[in-house]
Symmetry: C2
């Protein structure tokens, strides 16, 4: 539903779009529709909620973040770099509504009301409100003052199962902060606020290739995400998420990295002496689209992260037999061709995220299907971007020579790099400020 805008409103939309473009956070589909709902809300409807809905992406780190130097502000012990995954496949959608009729702040996550007093949620709410007040006090023109002191209702859903073990908190907090910012009319740098919800959420505030610069300041003001290259930079880079048969995570990442910081001497060395150099090399590899360098660094950094988990006391294991089979499979595949065509990375869970160039996708998917024969009774094995069919060569099958692991992988999500958060029109909250029945 698109409303007619005054020339002034139209102009503001254009300026904001231009600003957003430089941060690479505009979704093509909603380019003309963003900011509208909020700014066009008429004065006479103040009892109706002011309502905005946004989506935000999942990101996957290729230089890993593991360990905080400040638990409250979520300041990391090293910089990290990620690729933002496309929201056509994986996204969080969040609606925020404010109304003077709301009695208290409330939140619904994936259809269930949750405790809004969670400290990290409170950090994000507090920081956005603080920024809004600051802007009001600075007397900024065109600021939407409506709802500044109102309570908020928040409703958020993922389009992927939490059990998939993907970093839903990154997309979730990025989406929350981005949406709150729209509602309260806050602009500019928001990754520092998202960071206080969940460290890696700051990287989900941008599309494409994103670094989280660790910063040096004690107050964390310089610990921010920054886009290295937009999602359009490397169009033939493709991504597969291999969802391993669901297992519950043994150790959550928050407590895991705490224990690692306290007990692993290898982690300290990694953060201080290994990552700084790798960040420079990775940025160079991304900027020059050097797949070999990108792939090898990605694999080495994933392995080193899991090595520091093992060096933790008591040790933490996130890789399982399926993960190890994927790792062996990738190395044997690359060895067969005498070049690095495929790379894996694993976060705090057994799912593999695979990077490769477009021209190798069909064959590699065949390899995965052969060595992880899917459950024939199950649904679609390959979801997302279409993958052509082909038969696996005997030559390649023998070169890999692993024992097939039936049902080790539940399904594959075929995707690519994508844009940052964006505004959409379909709200999850109704005009009564409560979740719509359909969610």
């Amino acid at each position: 539903m698109r409303r007619k805008l005054t020339p002034l409103q139209r102009g503001r939309v254009d300026i904001r779009e231009a600003a957003s473009n430089t941060r690479g956070v505009v979704c093509e589909a909603v380019r003309d529709k963003r900011w509208i709902t909020r700014t066009a809300l008429p004065e006479d409807s103040m009892d109706k909620p002011n309502i905005v809905t946004c989506t935000a992406p999942v990101n996957i780190a290729v230089i890993k973040y593991w360990g905080k130097r400040n638990e409250d502000l979520i300041l990391p012990i090293n910089s990290s770099l990620s690729v933002t995954l496309h929201q056509d496949q994986l996204k969080t959608t969040t609606t925020v509504a404010t109304s003077r009729s709301f009695q208290e702040d409330r939140i619904w996550l994936n259809g269930k009301e949750e405790d809004i007093t969670h400290p990290r949620l409170q950090s994000c709410l507090r920081e956005i409100r603080r920024l809004a007040r600051k802007r009001r006090n600075d007397g900024e023109a065109g600021l939407n003052l409506t709802g500044m002191s109102h309570k908020v209702h928040i409703c958020s859903v993922n389009n992927f199962p939490t059990a998939a073990g993907l970093a839903s908190s990154a997309a979730g907090f990025a989406c929350l902060v981005y949406t709150l910012a729209q509602v309260f009319g806050v602009e500019g740098e928001l990754s520092g606020i998202a960071r206080q919800g969940s460290g890696s959420a700051c990287r989900s505030m941008y599309g494409g290739f994103v670094q989280w610069i660790m910063g040096k300041k004690d107050d964390g003001k310089d610990s921010l995400a920054q886009q290295v290259e937009p999602e359009t930079h490397w169009p033939d880079l493709r991504i597969l998420v291999l969802v391993a048969s669901a297992e519950r995570k043994q150790v959550g990442s928050t407590s895991g990295m705490q224990t690692s910081v306290q007990t692993s001497c290898l982690l300290k060395h990694r953060a201080e002496s290994v990552v700084p150099e790798r960040m420079v090399e990775m940025i160079e590899a991304v900027q020059t689209k050097d797949f070999t360098a990108f792939a090898e660094l990605t694999m080495k950094d994933s392995n080193q992260f899991h090595a520091t988990c093992l060096d933790t006391y008591p040790p933490i294991f996130y890789l399982n037999n399926v993960s190890r089979q994927v790792i062996n499979l990738v190395h044997r595949y690359n060895r067969h061709y005498g070049e690095t065509r495929v790379a894996y990375t694993f976060d705090a869970g057994p799912n593999a995220v695979i990077f490769m160039l477009q021209q190798h996708v069909t064959e590699f998917v065949q390899v995965v299907q052969h060595f992880f024969p899917p459950d024939t009774n199950g649904g679609q094995f390959i979801k997302g971007l279409p993958v052509s069919c082909a038969s696996l060569s005997k030559d390649l099958e023998q070169a890999i020579g692993l024992e097939p692991m039936p049902k080790g992988i539940s399904y594959i999500i075929s995707t690519k790099a994508g844009p940052g958060p964006c505004v959409v029109e379909d709200h999850l909250l109704g005009s009564d400020g409560l979740p719509k029945k359909t969610t």
Copy 2:
């Protein structure tokens, strides 16, 4: 078969025994019998082989050796420390015979003739012969000159299956070098020669608690094993080897450590900055019999070694699901009691070696049997030193709360710290210089 000795011969035996005692390498059972066979060989029997048989132990490192700074001389990048396991449970037996009638050097390993030209075998043969010549040239009194230039026949067997994944090369080369030394009348420091057969073999030259000092010299002359404490030092320390269901080792340790040295930045840091301090702490823990310190360092060092394997590119995995279940089980067991009662360590394979004090053996074995229910059709589950029966408390079972893993562990070898190599009487080679039919 004991022969009568001349007073001179008798005296020499005593002196040698005394020397051996300080190195803790005397087996009680053969104390009165060693050196006899060789020294008593009459001049008129020179066509008959000069024959000696010895046994040597397996050792298990608690501060791990991984990585060489010199591949030919087998010089390590860090010092290491091990416990010598008792030969009543695990040993290699080696017979060496020399005779002027032998046409060539030959070797039989576990019943099969093998290639004697293997470079590491040749290193040991060459070094022992060099030492023997040096002693002859130095005109040492009482040296047995017989057979100095004769060819050798070597026959060696383990009393445990190679498939058990225990470090058989350490016991094997220690036994070879020790036996050759007896045959050629070489005494004194032999660990430097054993080291050139297999690095960790140098530690199997002594009983009890043994450190391998990495040394600094380029020629490796100071890279030697040294006894920290004899096997009698800590009588209530008990050891269980949990033999995981046999799997072939993916990557051999020689090539594995080569790749690690070349590619793992964490290994370099470990060797230079972590191990030196840990060696000091471990020696202190052993000397003071501080089980908590000993156990925690042992577990941390095992985990760190496997972490550096994972940081290797391509990564190396030695731990499997059974190993990880053992690790979790030990930590949960210790957590239940609020103290570190049990420790694990893993070498380049999935078998766990468990350390604990005598008073906890019965209960911990019950725990292992419960969470790794043995194959009821199989043989004896617990081999070696007897373990009392007891039933597992529900309380403890629930506190551990893992999903049992049937047949994950094939059997347990119950053992303790033991002595170094020693001379025995039962030869593996007959008077014809060929393996006896029974072997």
